[in-house]
Each structure stands twice: as C-alpha cells, then as structure tokens.
Amino acid sequence: MLMREGQSLRTIPAIAMAGIFLVLGGCATYSQSFRAVERNLLKNDPTGALQALEKQPRSSRDQFLYVCNKAMLLRMLGKFKQSNEEIKKAKAIVQKYSAISVSEQTSSFIINDATRTYIGSPVEQIMLNVYAALNYLQMNDLNGARVEILQEDIRLRALMQDDPDSPLSVDPFARYLSGIIYEDLGEWSDAMIAYRKAYQAYQKHAALYGIAIPQQLKRSLIRMADKVGLYNERRKYEQEFDLHLAALQKGIQNTGELVFIFNNGLAPIKRESSVQVIEPKSGHMIRISLPYYEKRNTPVAYARLYLQSVRPHLKNVPKLVTKTEKVEDISSLEIETLKSQMAAITARALARAVAKDKLSDEASQRNGLAGLIVNIAGVLTERADTRSWLTLPAQIQCARLKAPAGLYSAHVELLDHNNNIVLRRNLGKIKLTTGHNDYLSFRWTSIEATTRN
C-alpha cells in the first residue's frame, strides 16, 4: 500500500514543482531583506536607514552585519564614538567565532551556507580597523587611531600567513592610512615603511583590477624618503614618478594639512543565482544556489574640495582647491575576494545537493510522502549565502591639501564622469594647525537606480 502511494508520489512532477517555485520566490535572502535600509540610503538619509535597520529582524548568526551596518550609519551621522563602540562589538564577534564550528559546518552541509555565523570577508574585517581609525582621527584621537592601525597590521599579517601569494592578502589603503597616521605622529621611519608597503600593495592590486597608484602616495613617498635620509630611494621615486622634491616642497612651510576622505557610493550587493533540475530517475528536484556580486554603480566619479579662509582680509585670496583620488576600490576587492572563494562555495553546494538527494532517496524508500517532503525541504532551504556588509562604500577616495594654519570654510562638489556637478554641499568650518593634520570626511550613498525592487 505504502509502496504504491510512494510510487505515485514519485511521479508528481509539474504541479508540485510549480508550487515549490512559487514558494521559493517568497523566501528572502539576506540581501533582499536589506531593501528598507537601502531605500533610505539611496535618499542619503542615514537617520531613516538606522531606524529601518533597528526594525529589521535579525538572527544571532548575522549579528556581525547588524553591528557593522549600525557602526557605519552612526559614523555617517557624525556619532564617531558610538560608531567605534559598535566596531568593538564586531571585532569581538570575529574573535569569538573565528574557530570552526562543528555544528554549523554540519548544518551548512545539509541546509545552506547562511546557517553559519557570519564573521565578514577579509576586506570587511580590515575595514573594521580602517573605519575605527578614521573615527578616532575625526575625534582628534591620534593615539586611538594608532592602536587601530597596529591591530590592522596584525590582521594583515594573519592574512599573509594564510595565503602569502594572494594580492588580496595585502590592502593598499590600510597601509596608506597607516602611513598618514604615523606621519602625523612624527614617527617618520614607520610612516616610510607603511608608504612603501602601500606602494607595493597598489602595484599588486593594479595588476588584479586596475587601480591606479594615487599621486598623493607618490608625493608622500618622495617627501618621506627625504625626511628619513633615504636619498637614493628618493631619487629612484623621483625618476619613476617624474616628480621632484623641490617642486613638492614649494610653499609648504608653516602649513597644516587637511586629509579629506570621500566615501563614495555603496559596496556591491550579493545576489543569488540558482539552477533547478529534476533528476529523471527519481523525479527529485535538485537545486544549486550560488552567490554573485552585483555592482551598485555610483554616478559620482570624484569630489572637489574647496577651502576659503574666513579672515576678512583674505577673502579675496583665491580658494584652495583639490580633487579626490580613488585610494580603495572596495567593490573590486569584494568581487575578487568572492571569486577566490567561489571554488570552495561551489564544491560545498554540490556536496550539499548530493547529500540532500541521498536523504530524500532514503526517505522515499520508507515512505513516498516523506521522500517528497524531504525533497521539498531540501530545495526550499537551498539558498545562497548573500550576506555582506552592505553599508560599506563602493570606493574610498582621498585628497590631501596643505594650507597655511587658520580657519577655513570648506565646501565640496561631487562630479560625474563627464565633469558635470552632481551636488554641491557646504561642510562647515575647519581649523588647520601648523605641522598637524586635520581630518574631514564626506559620505554619498545615492547610486544609479540599478538595484532591484
């Protein structure tokens, strides 16, 4: 009796499967569930985004992403201290869950990859230190920022140990930022080492996805090599970059420096791509879901920063202006990282498909209905792990501007690829002090309407 029922159920093809497809559409992946937050970000409204984030249901497995997103939104609201408290929580999660979990490995083998506790991609983990350091810099806590770059160094060294040959084991901006911080602290030999490492990292990354070596790094390398007395190295850089120290040093006596960080756009979003086939022999449905990155393109190519002295007698002096350069391409980094992980993700998905099919086979032998239920459950739960830190920018851009000490009013212009102005925004007053850096940042999250509704 049971056998007969099982056999009849084995051949249910079209109607039941159509039902499955319909239900599948209803199950949301992580990136799909992020729409409410994203909508607010597209309007450049971090307050609304933060409220949406708080309302979003979350599991303990995704706590890392919740605290990271919260940290980024708080930073956008200028709440640097609270932002760093969230980053601290994220770091604790990474430390706690870095060990491989036996139970989660098992569940990822029979359910899906998203059942594992998320602790961030290597890029995201490095960005924790980068943004914590930037937060400290904006709070004028140079020593706090120094602690972060030392932690970042340990993280980068661990990455290097895991995979010494991968260009992804070095991070150009993390090193460049370390150089800026060391230079500001007057620790010149450390600054020189960091700039040198940044230069090597940019060269490796340029070969991978074509990021240009920033002009400002070239200038820093020449200046710092001269300061620490590495004259041969300085001459080598001068020839290589076709830049000369004398020209770089013109008019920079008694000046302060403004480091302007422009966080442009939104990091790419992971989507799911699935293949569903019906195994002709058993009539079971097999589904394989894999993640892929979709870029969220920003219309803004770069920013122009203007400084105007607020002293009345200097009002007629022309404004100081500088243009930002791309110093970190988070989009490309994330995409390359996923590419490097794809072989392992695919192998796991295939192994899971085999395991799920075997399970439904075994269940069918006992009871046809049970077999069908196991098959449906297996297919329904086969979802790609689309988790990633979605409030990260697509790019970090930076500009450094030396100016005589004093009070300035700053404003920024965002320009598209055809040099048309997209936005003009006043950034308030900034005070530059001789021999020190002042840090200013601006975030723009509107992107071209390429995201799905």
Partner: protein, 201 residues
C-alpha cells in the same frame, strides 16, 4: 525496560545541563585574583607591573643619593605614559596604579598632576575671595616636583595560525626636572602565549 529508563534519565540530565548552561552566571571574585580571558592587557597586568616597577625604582641608588644630599624625600609627578601597543589600554588606570604604588610606599612625596593642579588652583582662587582668613590657603606655596615619571607601553606580536605570542614591554623613565638628567630607567616585560581554539561546538 531498564535500558529505556536509563535513556530517559540520560535525556533528563542532558536537558537539565542544557538549561542551566544557558543561564547567565555572575560570580564575585577577589580583586587581586589573576584572571585571563582573552590574553589582552588587563587589571592584573596593570597592578603587577606598577607594583614591581615602583619597588625597583625605590631600591635603586638615585633614591638614597637624593635623600642623603637633600635630607628629604624626593617629590615626583607622573607625566605622560604613552600607549604604543596594539590594544586600547586604559592608561589612566595604569597611571593611578603607579600613583597608588608610589604613595603607599611612603618614601616619596607625590605631587598632583597638571589637571588636578588646575582644579586646586581655581579652588584656592575661590577661597581667596570667599573663605575666612583663618582657613584660607595662600597661593604660591605649592610643592614643586623634583622628578617626572614618563613612559610607554609597547607590544610585539608574533603569531602562527591560532597561536599568538604577545610580548609587552613597559618602559618608565624618571627624569630630574632641575637638569633633565635621567636618574632611573625601569623596564618590565610580560610574555603571554595565547592559543585560540580551532574548533567550537
């Protein structure tokens, strides 16, 4: 039948264990008890280092020489102690541990820090106007420090896989305010081997 009973009992024990493991547990411990959780710099390190270093400082010849020459105890002030490590160490608690160790030694006159002095001076200014003649404290009677204690906390981290060797080096310098002479240089090192688990449940 017996096996079934045994199975039931085992299940009950498992459930009880699982439930009790979930509850938050708070246990009071002695402040001076050494507890290491993550391997990071903690109160035990701060206390051990400050006590050992101040003891070393007072055992050295500069102290006896000074007391003999000036016929009084030296007055010391704690200057800046820089955190050059890769951890967000609360330097203030370390400084207060050092101050405590110095004051409690009874062999040193201790001068308030520049921030504290500012507050006291403003109080004295206030007394000048508002306090009675008999209780008013005059200005210009402060005890000037003879030496300033400065220093830094450094770390060197070495690692291999999940094992980390953390090496802390704490340097303290005692500098004479009269002539910038460095009279004592103390160094304390702590080495910690931290093994993180590769597997969890």
């Amino acid at each position: 039948m017996l096996i079934r009973k045994f199975k039931l009992a085992a299940l009950a024990i498992f459930i009880i264990l699982a439930v009790t493991a979930c509850a938050t547990q708070v246990q009071r411990v002695a402040v001076n008890k050494d507890i290491d959780l993550s391997g990071a710099w903690n109160d035990t390190d701060s206390r051990m280092v400050s006590e050992a270093m101040i003891k070393d400082m007072l055992d050295r010849p500069w102290f006896r020489n000074y007391a003999r020459k000036h016929n009084r105890q030296p007055a010391v002030i704690v200057g800046r102690i820089r955190n050059l490590s890769d951890e967000h160490i609360n330097v203030r608690t370390f400084v207060s541990d050092i101050e405590r160790a110095m004051i409690n030694s009874g062999q040193i006159n201790f001068v308030a820090s520049s921030n504290q002095r500012k507050e006291i001076r403003s109080e004295r200014k206030d007394q000048d106007i508002n306090a009675s003649e008999s209780t008013r404290k005059a200005m210009g009677q402060e005890m000037g420090a003879d030496f300033m204690l400065k220093g830094s906390i450094n770390t060197i981290v070495d690692m291999e896989g999940k094992t980390q060797l953390r090496y802390y080096q704490i340097d303290l310098n005692l500098i004479s305010l009269a002539n910038n002479r460095m009279v004592w240089l103390g160094q304390k090192k702590i080495k910690k081997l931290i093994k993180n688990s590769r597997l969890r449940f």
